[in-house]
């Protein structure tokens, strides 16, 4: 919360990619340094189809396991170039929502669209635009960083020569180029997380999902992980859905979606959240909305 207001201002960033050629060149100048670009729909082309599609648009999704309703009519939007925090306690339904977005199983009701592509009807097109960092560790400990990245590129059908180039620039983004040939086992938790972010960027997604990405990291690693993701949002225009139960990860310019017991209690900007709960800070607002008296974050 101490972060300077507007530093990662969501509306400001959006202006810069409103389709004007100038804006794009500027973005390119920033990119030159890292030689990395993110797959995204050109605003011009997308507008030919009507409204440019949001990075992620979920509408009316409910899900139940047996009699237990885990998600109840959830709607949520992640615009392109927006850092959206999915805020919820453990058991709020975040993981189920992630399972549905990543199409581990299908949503039975409602629709989930990634950059305009319905996950159910066009899974390949949707998944091609999706990058995921799962909560649990998913790297092969005994393989090197580069081997892990090559495997992931292969999963996206990227051939080796191209994959090597992309692995190189992705590692550069997370500042781990010098460790490329070390085994993942030798990395710290924070470094491994950064490799997972690099891996999620290899196929140049337009939407990045991160599920409790900072759990178990020390303060320094947390800041570096959050910093990397936020700069990707600012520079590359990625839409990010950041699931967390740590309220202090919400910055003033973010969009917030409060998920509680399977229901979306609030969705919108931080000032909107504060106004809706007539609170002075996000933590109080969260308590007012969810009716929890205990501290939201035990961790």
């Amino acid at each position: 919360m101490s972060r300077a207001r507007g530093q990662f201002n969501f509306t400001g960033d959006r202006r810069s990619r409103s389709g004007s050629p100038v804006g794009r060149v500027q973005t390119g100048a920033v990119n030159r340094k890292v030689c990395y670009r993110v797959a995204r729909l050109s605003e011009d082309t997308a507008s030919a189809y009507g409204v440019p599609a949001d990075a992620l648009a979920i509408s009316g999704v409910s899900h139940r396991f047996g009699d237990k309703v885990v998600l109840d009519n959830v709607s949520l939007t992640v615009p392109r170039g927006a850092f959206t925090v999915l805020l919820g306690l453990n058991g709020a339904g975040k993981s189920t929502l992630f399972a549905l977005i990543t199409r581990l199983y299908d949503n039975v009701s409602g629709s989930i669209r990634i950059l305009g592509h319905d996950v159910r009807r066009r899974p390949t097109a949707a998944l091609q635009r999706l990058g995921v960092v799962f909560q649990s560790k998913t790297l092969d400990q005994d393989l090197t960083l580069i081997q892990n990245l090559l495997y992931h590129s292969a999963l996206h059908g990227i051939r080796k020569a191209e994959a090597l180039k992309r692995a190189d620039s992705a590692l550069h983004i997370v500042s781990l180029s010098d460790r490329a040939h070390e085994k993942v086992r030798n990395l710290s938790g924070g470094q491994a997380r950064r490799v997972e972010i690099a891996r999620a960027l290899l196929h140049r997604p337009g939407l990045l999902l991160l599920d409790e990405a900072t759990v178990g990291l020390d303060i320094g690693s947390r800041e570096s992980v959050v910093g990397i993701v936020r700069s990707l949002v600012a520079k590359e225009g990625l839409g990010v859905l950041w699931a967390t139960h740590l309220i202090d990860e919400v910055a003033p310019g973010d969009l917030v979606c409060v998920l509680h017991k399977g229901k979306v209690l609030f969705s919108g900007s931080v000032p909107g959240l504060l106004a809706a709960a007539s609170s002075s800070n996000v933590r109080d607002a969260f308590r007012v909305l969810t009716g929890t008296t205990a501290t939201a974050e035990a961790a």
Binding site: R24, V25, T27, G28, A29, N31, R32, R37, A39, R40, L41, S42, T45, A46, F65, V70, N90, G91, G93, S95, T96, A99, T102, R103, L104, Y105, D106, R120, P123, T124, A125, A126, L127, Q128, R129, L130, V132, F134, Q135, S136, K137, T138, D140, D142, L143, Q147, L150, Y151, H152, S153, A154, L155, H156, G157, I158, R159, K160, H203, R204, G206
Partner: protein
């Protein structure tokens, strides 16, 4: 630089549709990872090798005098017990490997590596089959290492057998792997794997023709005999046995029962030849049939809308 930027968003409007090249890259990547992981885990390689070697060096030596093995196809002379159980032990390697890869899939699921695989933008059946073939490739590496060591233990099938056994190993490996894949979707948690050991691996292995010819079992227990000859693993072992001696699709003389060492379901699946001979392809058909069956069930179980995972809310252990 600016030119590149101008071009790029256009190229990104739709990421390229996957052509055969992308499928190949994906397939190679998955198989390559399985093999690489296996090679890096040296303890796993050794323990996988030590198990059948203990059976061969110790168990078989001890039982050599107890179990007499008569001349039964595909053998043309009296064979030592070691020679008889070698194909069974190769089957054991495949079985353990398949179950281990199923274990690793449950484990992967809990750690999330399986989810990384399933979120790849390819048809899920393709991903699962690629993963399956990766596991089979690892198993076959082990099987050949074992056969090479056994060669110096004077288990010397005809040299051509080392070639003809390959398709049998692939098919048997696929069958067991598909079974394991199916089980990995059924097991909800890692702890249940001990149960798999007790209720799947051991019964499948011991109630089969891996350790003793079926006609010996029949003398001892007709019931066990019935179980063993319908056990798909028996057919996998017999397929490997006959293939190792280049005799898959052996012709039967008129009046001869189906393969004596094993288990034709008394003239199971045979193709009539001229001059009253029959061609016995029971094992091949049974193993191939089971492969298709298990694989279809596994793909169904992993199907995002119909499968068991969707219904039960797995697989991520704590999925909530």
């Amino acid at each position: 630089m600016n030119i590149e930027i101008a071009i790029h968003p256009m190229a990104d409007v739709a990421p390229p549709k996957h052509g055969p090249g992308a499928y190949l890259a994906c397939f190679r990547g998955i198989v390559w990872r399985e093999v690489l992981r296996f090679l890096y885990q040296r303890e796993r390689f050794l323990s996988a090798l030590v198990r059948p070697l203990i059976w061969l060096f110790i168990f078989a030596a001890g039982f050599r005098q107890v179990l007499g093995v008569s001349i039964i196809p595909p053998y043309t002379t009296y064979v030592l017990y070691e020679t008889f159980i070698t194909p069974g032990l190769v089957g054991m390697i495949l079985l353990f490997n398949a179950m281990q890869s199923s274990l690793s899939m449950v484990y992967d699921r809990e750690t999330g590596a399986m989810r990384t695989l399933l979120v790849a933008p390819f048809p899920r059946s393709f991903l699962l089959i690629s993963k399956l073939i990766g596991g089979v490739a690892v198993a076959i590496l082990q099987a050949y290492t074992f056969l090479a060591i056994a060669y110096f233990w004077e288990i010397e099938p005809p040299l051509i057998g080392y070639l003809t056994v390959l398709p049998a190993l692939i098919l048997a490996g696929l069958m067991l792997g598909a079974l394991a894949l199916l089980m990995s979707s059924l097991i909800k948690q890692l702890e249940n794997f001990a149960g798999v050991m007790n209720f799947v691996i051991f019964p499948m292995f011991f109630a089969s023709s891996a350790l003793y010819p079926l006609w010996r079992i029949k003398e001892g227990s007709p019931l066990l005999y019935e179980i063993a000859r319908f056990n798909p693993f028996s057919h996998a072992v017999e397929l490997i046995r006959f293939a190792l001696y280049g005799q898959v699709g052996r012709t039967l003389e008129a009046g001869e029962e189906g393969a004596g060492a094993g288990i034709s379901i008394d003239h199971g699946i045979v193709i009539p030849l001229q001059s009253g001979q029959l061609l016995d392809i029971t094992h091949l058909v049974v193993v191939a049939g089971c492969t298709v069956l298990f694989l279809a069930a596994a793909i169904f179980a992993y199907n995002p809308s119909k499968g068991l995972i969707a219904r039960r809310g797995g697989p991520a252990g704590g999925a909530m």
